[in-house]
């Protein structure tokens, strides 16, 4: 109704209604893009990129080259990209980072004459490697051509530099680079470089202005950066007199800060160069107006205000009041530096204790990447920010679409030459710089160049190669470098529109849903802050964050409600630098993701101990499936790794038609089983001995786990009293709260919550619609709400071979913020693949981080409001989620609507605050803040659209729709979302009178993604799908983090047999090749190849019939194709280079996932190949159309 997302999902009737206003209001919006297009192209060309969209020879949609050709051209092409190797080498020396062993650095650096300014650096830069790498940098700077490389280097330095600000402790280090990786739209002149780098090493914000200035010189276009800098003045300041200052700064940081003050004083003399950053500010109000002046003094003013004046003390300590849990305030606890460091370590510990910690890994790649390799592509993690532009905003010449197929080949080669002249390496870091540059330059003209690229109309019927060579990354918001640097990581916080439309009307016109995708508790290392007063806005309770404005020394203005608050006295002291009077240097203001140690104000009761209760099905069915033995083994192994402290409590409960409790009281010689057979009125036989302290009763617990599998091996009881068992679990856990883990293997048949089979197997492949997607009874939901009220989270493991009515059972986890695992047809002998998956999942499950009694509140800038939440939780009020347990693997989605116009601000901010009790019994608050620009042009909205986030949000909405209405409704709504987007774009933005399906380049993958969604288990019709599997897929959609979900929806396909080292990553001593992504179509496969499909939870390695024997022998260890065993599910560790490369690539793919993925080797002739081919979503399947047919369908719908 109100949000566009919602309307998107409306039936087509409401669409046509809505589309009329679009047409009516079109003219005003056409102006912007239309003009800028023409005006912007020349600059595009001057960077060497031909304007692609016209010149792309149209490859007829479905009559493409023979399947096997594509990869070949591909590689040939990529060879081209790397032609200028010696220059690239220099590049990569620039990339390397701080974490790399210095020795690696020193070798190359010796060959390069060090530049003068650097020596001064050494003193001021904390890690020595940095300095060395500066030296390497220098030479490329000398030539204007290589300047792209330097930018990337700058951004890296930036991160590094942030670390000292954040947290001096090593734990905080890896956390920092997350955000700031890409930041500087800059092209420093060679002369400036030395001063630049030195300034960076001391004061982060010092750099941007100079860098921005440079492009002005070089390109003689006087465009200011599109920056809405919070600290422009501040950042401007140091640059004017870097050289001298830096030398002085070597000794202490404090000193350095002082000097930066002086620097800001001398700002006026700084003159023109800084205008760029000033212009940034001028860009604020009318983003997209072509007439932004170069001399924008307002920007300067702001800068001065912030950077300079902000540095004085303030004294009100009263800023903190009540926590989200509505606790009254008081202050407590310590605030020493040392304490904080301890806490950080503790935090680091807990976060790193979980296995697949997401962010540290990327960072380590980050750091290692440049270490020693001659030519490479950036690792995908690294591309988080950097490569994003070329995924979606990308520079035309890099457009991945053109890399495949002969036509594109010829087309992109001219741009090639240009790039190679300037030692520009196609796949390397430069991209972001280009786009940053264009961002920097774009402020003056209406649409920045990256937007031009993102807006480049793509005719879907003609362009076939749409995929980027590496997995798509989140687009970067069009913010000032300063803000970009501190903005929240897209892995944590992502918005479907990185440019927020100013009004709901504009949003409706764009026909895209507005929403957030959140992964708030994911494994990462982040600065942990301990202080007496947690500074928050007095009216809206927003936590202080990097996007607030300091009006003067003692006051800050909330960025969400615009209230002016006092800075408390304590906040004036910076524990990191141990200096006074710099509130803006506090870690809270330097990081958009921070964690506070909360005081007792944030507690309703003393923090609960970690409490785990395992509820195990031991009926005959369960014994048959044989899961119990593996569960007990794994738990025994991981007993010490369960997150918790000395207070940790555990309990066990088994059930068939009765409920068995286990008395594990310390002092007993062996566990005592207590049987309660009255399942209609469950009672707890003993109150203090069933949940026991793990430490004290460890021996008994071990005893129990060893004897449990044998205890029930003779069970003949087929009934299952799950409902009563859950009631018992609820009663057992109510006093403390905690986590209940339920293992269930069949339909519950006894007592409360008994269910009947509702699935009609004949209807599995019906196209008419699917019944029974909702719960049959509200027993589980009510129980879940009770659990949620007592802070009990219920996780469900369903290992059923029969229908078990997951639609009803899942409610127990859905509303108590638990997680759901499903292993269809689990059997310990007959289904080894499921068994292995079960074991891996369980291991991760036992050891992953956990937060108890949590609440999460999402706040957003005045004018925006939250519409609907998606995920597993209970919504307590319109913006508050109650999460009994929070785990690092579940994500949330939020639909937003715009209630009031956002015209009075240029930035929109979102803050998610998660208050939880850690497993160590500490109350903590994790705060993420995301900042996005507000735009008033439709074209800007499209340019900032994040196609993956849009897809995920739509998927969530479609799931809701299919449960509340019907599956076919949901499917129609998804198709309509595409139709809508295309028609809205056509009528409002694109002024080209092109026929066919034209979408902005940023959204070019949208139809593919939607088609893939329609072919997912959750939403498909016509293909036989078991109801439980469908419901499980729906649950997954609701809780999986975006990247995992996207891999499930649209798997990544790579060709493995001809991987070359070109573009490979070099990590430590392993080489990780980076093959290109292939479209999910059988025509991309070839019989003589081996292809890897990465579906998130599972990898498929498809071996073609004529696959080279070398590959089969070297990688799979089999003499020939025929001898590959049919159910092979691992890659042997062979000592051949090919095998090592393949395994390195697989390990690298696995590295940043929470749950390790299985690998299945699929032979071309095996029956298993159907599972592989069903993921080739662009092909026609028995019941669903191919991509081309889908596009034609869209076109028909449009012309209706």
């Amino acid at each position: 109704m109100s949000s566009p997302g919602f309307t998107n999902l409306n039936s087509s009737v409401s669409y046509s209604q809505n589309s009329t206003p679009n047409g009516g209001a079109a003219p005003p919006f056409q102006n912007g893009p239309a003009q800028t297009y023409q005006s912007m192209y020349p600059p595009t060309g001057c960077y060497g990129a031909p304007p692609q969209q016209q010149s792309y020879p149209t490859i007829p949609a479905h009559s493409t080259p023979a399947p096997h050709k594509a990869p070949i051209t591909n590689s040939a092409h990529s060879a081209n990209y790397y032609q200028s190797n010696h220059q690239q080498q220099q590049h990569h020396h620039q990339l390397p980072q701080h974490h790399v062993a210095p020795s690696q650095y020193s070798a190359p650096s010796s060959s390069v004459p060090p530049s003068q300014p650097h020596p001064t650096l050494h003193s001021s830069v904390p890690p020595p490697s940095n300095a060395q790498y500066n030296q390497q940098q220098h030479p490329p700077y000398a030539t204007p051509g290589s300047y792209y490389g330097q930018q990337s280097y700058h951004s890296q330095q930036q991160q590094q530099q942030q670390q000292p600000n954040l947290v001096p402790a090593p734990a905080g280090g890896p956390g920092a680079p997350l955000y700031p990786i890409v930041s500087y739209p800059s092209a420093p002149g060679s002369s400036q470089y030395g001063t630049l780098s030195s300034s960076q090493s001391t004061s982060a914000p010092g750099v941007p202005p100079t860098q921005m200035g440079a492009p002005l010189h070089q390109y003689s276009t006087s465009r200011p950066a599109p920056t809405t800098a919070v600290q422009p003045g501040y950042s401007v300041a140091p640059t004017s007199q870097l050289g001298p200052t830096v030398n002085g700064q070597g000794s202490t940081v404090h000193q350095h800060y002082d000097q930066s003050h002086q620097a800001s004083l001398s700002y006026d003399s700084y003159g023109r160069v800084t205008h760029s950053s000033g212009g940034a500010d001028a860009d604020r109000p009318p983003s997209g107006t072509p007439s932004t002046s170069v001399h924008s003094s307002p920007g300067h003013h702001q800068g001065v205000q912030y950077g300079y004046v902000a540095n004085s003390g303030a004294s009100s300590a009263s800023a903190t009041t009540s926590g989200p849990a509505a606790a009254p305030l008081s202050s407590s606890s310590e605030d020493d530096d040392d304490d904080e460091e301890e806490d950080e370590e503790a935090g680091g510990d807990t976060s790193s204790s979980s296995t697949g910690s997401a962010s540290p890994v990327p960072n380590s790649y980050d750091s290692l990447e440049g270490g020693n390799y001659p030519d490479s592509m950036p690792p995908s993690n690294d591309m988080t920010n950097q490569a994003a532009p070329y995924g979606s905003y990308g520079y035309p010449s890099m457009e991945p679409a053109y890399q495949q197929g002969p036509a594109s080949h010829t087309d992109s080669s001219p741009s090639h030459d240009l790039y190679s002249q300037s030692s520009y390496q196609q796949y390397s870091q430069p991209f972001p710089n280009l786009s940053q540059l264009s961002a920097a330059l774009g402020g003056l003209s209406g649409v920045p160049e990256l937007e031009v690229e993102a807006l480049r109309p793509v005719n879907l019927l003609q362009e076939r190669n749409l995929l980027p060579p590496r997995p798509l990354e989140a687009p970067e918001p069009n913010l000032s470098p300063d803000l970009k640097k501190v903005n929240c990581s897209p892995h944590t916080f992502r918005c479907t529109l990185t440019s927020i439309p100013q009004t709901q009307a504009l949003l409706n016109k764009a026909r895209l849903p507005l929403g957030l995708l959140l992964h708030p508790f994911r494994d990462l290392q982040l600065p942990v802050i301990t202080s007496n007063t947690i500074v928050r806005c007095r009216s809206c309770r927003t936590y202080i964050n990097p996007f607030v404005t300091f009006l003067d020394q003692r006051r800050w203005k909330c960025n969400l409600c615009y209230r002016v608050n006092d800075v408390p006295d304590e906040f004036m002291y910076n524990p990191v630098t141990r200096s006074y009077g710099e509130p803006h240097k506090r870690p809270e203001v330097q990081n958009s993701t921070v964690e506070f140690i909360a005081s007792s104000d944030y507690m309703l009761r003393p923090p609960q101990p970690a409490a785990y209760l395992f509820v195990l099905d031991v009926s005959h069915n369960a014994v048959e499936a044989g899961y119990l033995k593996y569960f007990c083994e794994l738990l025994l192994d991981n007993l010490d790794k369960l997150p918790g402290d000395t207070r940790t409590r555990v309990g066990f409960l088994t059930f068939d038609n009765t409920i068995h409790f286990y008395n594990l009281q310390e002092g007993l010689s062996q566990p005592q089983m207590l049987v309660v057979s009255d399942i209609d009125d469950v009672f707890i036989p003993s109150h203090d001995s069933l949940m026991v302290n793990l430490k004290e009763s460890k021996e008994l617990v071990k005893d129990l786990l060893t004897s449990l599998p044998a205890m029930f091996s003779q069970s003949r009881e087929t009934h299952s009293a799950l409902g009563p068992a859950l009631q018992a679990a609820f009663k057992l856990m109510s006093p403390t709260g905690g986590r209940v883990t339920v293992f269930q293997t069949q339909l519950p048949t006894l007592g409360a919550g008994a269910l009947q089979s509702r699935e009609d197997p004949n209807q599995r492949s019906s196209t008419k619609g699917v019944q029974h997607l909702g719960p049959a009874t509200d027993f589980y939901k009510k129980l879940a709400l009770d659990c949620s009220g007592q802070q009990i989270g219920v996780d469900l493991f369903l290992l059923s071979s029969q229908y078990a009515d997951l639609a009803s059972l899942s409610c127990i986890s859905k509303y108590s913020a638990g997680s759901i695992f499903y292993y269809p047809s689990f059997h310990y002998i007959h289904n080894p693949a499921q068994l292995e998956k079960f074991q891996r999942d369980l291991e991760r499950y036992f050891t992953r981080k956990i937060g108890f009694e949590a609440v999460m509140r999402i706040r957003c800038t005045k004018g925006l409001s939250i519409h609907t939440f998606h995920g597993n939780f209970f919504v307590r009020s319109t913006d508050l989620l109650s999460l009994a347990n929070v785990n690092p693997d579940s994500a949330f989605a939020v639909q937003m609507s715009i209630e009031d116009s956002l015209a009075d601000s240029s930035l929109a901010c979102f803050q998610a605050a998660l208050l939880y009790t850690s497993s160590k019994g500490k109350r903590r608050i994790r705060v993420h803040t995301l900042c996005l620009p507000v735009v008033n042009q439709l074209s800007d909205v499209y340019a900032g659209a994040d196609v993956q986030a849009v897809t995920c949000l739509l998927a969530n909405m479609a799931i809701d729709r299919s449960i509340s209405s019907s599956l076919s409704d949901a499917r129609d709504a998804l198709v309509n979302a595409v139709v809508d987007l295309v028609s809205a774009y056509k009528s409002n933005v694109s002024n080209l009178q092109q026929s066919g399906l034209v979408v902005p380049a940023a959204m070019r993958l949208f139809p593919v993604y939607i088609l893939s969604l329609l072919k997912q288990k959750a939403l498909r019709t016509g293909t036989s799908t078991r109801l439980d599997e469908r419901v499980f897929a729906m649950c997954e959609f609701k809780t999986q983090p975006l990247q995992q979900l996207m891999r499930m929806v649209h798997p990544d396909l790579y060709r493995l047999d001809n991987m070359s080292d070109q573009g490979a990553l070099h990590l430590n001593d392993t080489v990780v090749p980076q093959p290109h992504l292939l479209h999910l179509s059988a025509e991309r496969l070839s019989r003589d190849g081996a292809f890897l499909m990465d579906c998130g939870y599972v990898f498929y390695l498809w071996i073609g019939k004529c696959c080279s024997e070398v590959f089969i022998r070297d990688v799979l260890g089999c003499p020939n194709y025929a001898s590959i065993p049919p159910n092979m599910s691992h890659i042997p560790e062979l000592e051949t280079p090919l095998s090592e490369r393949v395994r390195a690539f697989l390990d690298w793919l696995q590295d940043n996932r929470a749950f390790s993925s299985m690998i299945h080797i699929v032979k071309d002739d095996a029956s298993a190949k159907a599972t592989f081919f069903q993921h080739l979503v662009e092909d026609r399947s028995e019941s669903a159309s191919s991509y081309y047919e889908f596009l034609q369908h869209i076109q028909q719908q449009m012309s209706k």
């Binding site: 109100s2 909702g774 009874t777 027993f779 709400l785 939250i866 519409h867 919504v875 009020s877």
Partner: protein
């Protein structure tokens, strides 16, 4: 002028509608439905066809609304897990306002009806 059954019905409806006005604001849905159903039956017995016709659409809506309530084992219409959804919340609020208007109008109508019946009989 005599105090007929119809007049009694109108008087009762008048009083109950006053209560309904508050129920519509507070979203006490089940009592509201019951009361409304109750005086509809009364009007039926009193053979006040016009008044009954005016109330029938709302009666039908109430029946439909109750039939299509979420799966629940306890009485009530609102599901605690979805009611905070902005759409549903907005819909329920709008529904409340519409009913409030309807009850206010019918309040005066019943007043008029009662007097009319009293005077005419």
């Amino acid at each position: 002028m005599a105090f007929t059954f119809a007049a009694f019905c109108y008087m009762l409806a008048l009083l109950l509608t006053a209560a309904l006005i508050f129920f519509a604001i507070w979203h006490l849905v089940l009592p509201e439905y019951l009361i409304h159903f109750f005086f509809c039956v009364m009007f039926f017995c009193a053979a006040e066809w016009l008044t009954l016709c005016l109330n029938l659409p709302l009666l039908a809506y109430h029946v439909w609304r109750y039939m299509s309530r979420p799966v629940m084992s306890c009485p009530g219409l609102y599901d605690p897990t979805t009611i905070m959804n902005a759409d549903i919340l907005a819909f329920c609020q709008k529904e409340g306002w519409c009913k409030l208007a309807f009850y206010l109008l019918s309040f005066f109508y019943y007043l008029y009806g009662m007097i009319y019946v009293l005077v005419s009989s």
